[in-house]
């Protein structure tokens, strides 16, 4: 009995790590760059497929693939911001209009990315096996790759926290998140910071995708579900709060694990129920302002 609870707990944390990672990415894009990136899941998918392709073709370890897929997805995000959203930002008459238009542009990107992936890699399910051997502790068995995923997510989260707190760019990001105009007046190169944030958010998604591909099967249409989860997590954590998204990710992972144990196939429904409860009771989320 105790073993089962422990099982569920750890499984929840393992999934929660990935949720936390991708949610922080989306929180950066929405909270700072003010782009509600509903194509976020497609960056996850791209990261996953690049890893799968590299592993299948050259047997490169996914953990090494991260050094390729990460920067690649970052560049895509950065360039996308500069080419598309920066221009929308200057031509939109108000922030509300910008938010609406950038969201719709992401809608377009969603279908571009998904169909590009189908054209390149096909629409069927793919997968590979890596470090799938079980590790046992305290009477429970867990695949090594999932444990590595959790470790990675936590490590990356901590590194990011330090980045935000200690580095110059990190401070610029925090300033831009609070008040872009004021930050600009203080000498922060706003357009570069916003593009950087967007790219960073994409990078986290790509990273999440790489980690996912180690343990789960992937498909060109996988993005939508993860975007939904990321959206729910950032609402749960509080819109605009990056630490909130991190914590929210783990919380939601736990919920998903419990629901999957009781009734598999209903986890997404459960997430939405939480979403609905939040909207009814506390839309600002746990740490929202």
């Amino acid at each position: 009995m105790i073993v089962t609870i422990f099982d569920i707990l750890i499984a929840g944390l393992l999934m929660g790590g990935i949720y936390a990672l991708i949610a922080v990415g989306l929180s950066l894009q929405y909270g700072v760059a003010r782009v509600l990136n509903i194509a976020h899941g497609e960056f996850i998918m791209i990261g996953a497929f690049i890893t799968w392709a590299l592993y299948s073709a050259f047997k490169i370890s996914p953990l090494l693939c991260v050094t390729i897929s990460g920067p690649l997805v970052f560049v895509i995000g950065f360039v996308l911001y500069r080419a598309l959203f920066a221009r929308l930002r200057t031509t939109s008459p108000s922030p509300a209009v910008f938010e609406g238009k950038s969201m719709l542009a992401c809608f377009g990107i969603l279908f571009i990315a998904q169909n590009l992936a189908i054209l390149i890699w096909g629409a069927d399910i793919k997968g590979y096996s890596y470090l799938a051997f079980p590790i046992e502790f305290w009477g429970a068995k867990f695949p090594a790759n999932r444990l590595i995923t959790l470790g990675f997510a936590v490590a990356f989260g901590s590194a990011f926290y330090l980045f935000l707190a200690r580095t110059r760019m990190g401070k610029a990001i925090r300033a831009a998140a609070q008040d872009p105009a004021a930050a600009g007046l203080m000498g922060v190169n706003i357009s570069r910071v916003l593009a950087f944030c967007f790219g960073l958010g994409a990078l986290m998604a790509g990273l999440g995708g790489t980690l996912l591909s180690m343990s789960y099967q992937i498909q060109a249409t996988m993005g939508l579900e993860y975007t939904m989860i990321a959206l729910i997590v950032i609402v749960l954590g509080g819109l605009g709060s990056i630490p909130g998204s991190f914590i929210g990710g783990f919380l939601l992972g736990l919920v998903g694990s419990i629901v999957t144990y009781v009734q598999p196939g209903l986890s997404l429904v459960a997430y939405y129920v939480i979403f609905m409860l939040l909207l009814l009771a506390k839309p600002t989320g746990i740490l929202g302002r």
Partner: protein
């Protein structure tokens, strides 16, 4: 003869529409079967696009849920196809979509617009997962058969829904509620302070738009004959109406209509030759339209038209 003035006169437009309606109504008598089927699809997209514009146009609340409401109508057909006659099913489908919209609206439309967008974005996938789980776990069926009716019947049903939705949108737009919806879109706080019950109006209009989407879904189900949750709840049907409305232009009523006609014909043309390329192209068109066509094709044409005919401020 002042051509621009002639064309923009009300009588000309009404005459044109009347002739068009007569042509469309008598078409099944002499047109090829393929044309009827294609036109039915065009009608469906026009209904979805105009319904979407009914709410999201004036208020600026972007709903990403058309596929969910359409799917609810489809599923009504799937569940009740052999139990009730088609007209009843259409009404049931329409009403269940409207009720779903009332729920979603009551939940999200009292809050900031961003919650509405997020919630409607995931609604299609949510319904898909839920109904899939229900069909697998509780009812044990994964696909359902819908009784067929002839192509001509589907054509006329769709045409009727089309006329109704266009009429409804026109009447709302030119009524006090249309004015109020516009005020909500331009400055919601000021609208509330002018006595407009903002939340109630949003929810009711949202439900009205879902009503027609559900009706369309119930009708189209009969054409597909075999329905499973994945067929009924297809995210592409959320994307296409939004694209068509934005490309066509949301200022005037015929903007969405033109957008729908253009893209449906384009889709028909491309879907057989380049099935994955065409969605890619549509995605690119969406991005380009957002960047360079803020008022859509119709808005662009209107600007040029105003320059030609010399008008600046139209009569109120």
């Amino acid at each position: 003869m002042d051509i621009p003035k002639l064309i923009s006169s009300k009588r000309f437009v009404l005459g044109f529409l009347f002739i068009l309606l007569v042509v469309l109504t008598t078409l099944p008598l002499y047109a090829a079967r393929y044309s009827i089927v294609l036109l039915t699809t065009i009608f469906m997209y026009v209904v979805l696009t105009v319904s979407w514009t009914m709410f999201s146009g004036p208020t600026g609340y972007v709903s990403l849920a058309p596929a969910a409401f359409f799917g609810a109508g489809v599923y009504a057909s799937a569940l009740l196809g052999f139990v009730f006659p088609l007209p009843v099913i259409i009404v049931v489908g329409a009403l269940s979509s409207a009720c779903l919209a009332l729920l979603v609206g009551a939940l999200t439309l009292r809050l900031r617009g961003i919650y509405f967008v997020m919630f409607t974005f995931g609604l299609v996938e949510l319904l898909l997962h839920f109904i899939l789980w229900w069909e697998v776990t509780i009812t044990g069926t994964t696909g359902r058969v819908v009784p067929t009716v002839g192509n001509t019947t589907v054509y006329y049903l769709m045409l009727t829904i089309l006329v109704m939705v266009i009429l409804t949108t026109y009447l709302i737009k030119h009524s006090r509620f249309g004015l109020a919806l516009q005020s909500i879109g331009e400055c919601e706080e000021a609208a509330a302070h002018t006595g407009v019950n903002v939340t109630a109006l949003k929810i009711m209009t949202f439900a009205a738009s879902a009503f027609f989407m559900g009706a369309a879904g119930a009708v189209m189900a009969t054409r597909w004959t075999y329905i499973d949750p994945r067929i009924a709840f297809n995210p592409i049907l959320s994307f296409l109406p939004v694209l068509m409305a934005i490309f066509g232009g949301m200022g005037q009523l015929f903007g969405p209509v033109i957008g729908a006609v253009i893209f449906t014909t384009l889709e028909e043309f491309l879907i057989t030759r380049f099935p994955y390329y065409y969605m890619l192209i549509f995605g690119i068109i969406m991005v380009v339209a957002i960047l360079y066509l803020p008022d859509g094709l119709v808005g662009l044409t209107q600007k040029l038209w105003n320059r030609i005919s010399g008008a600046k401020y139209a009569d109120p």
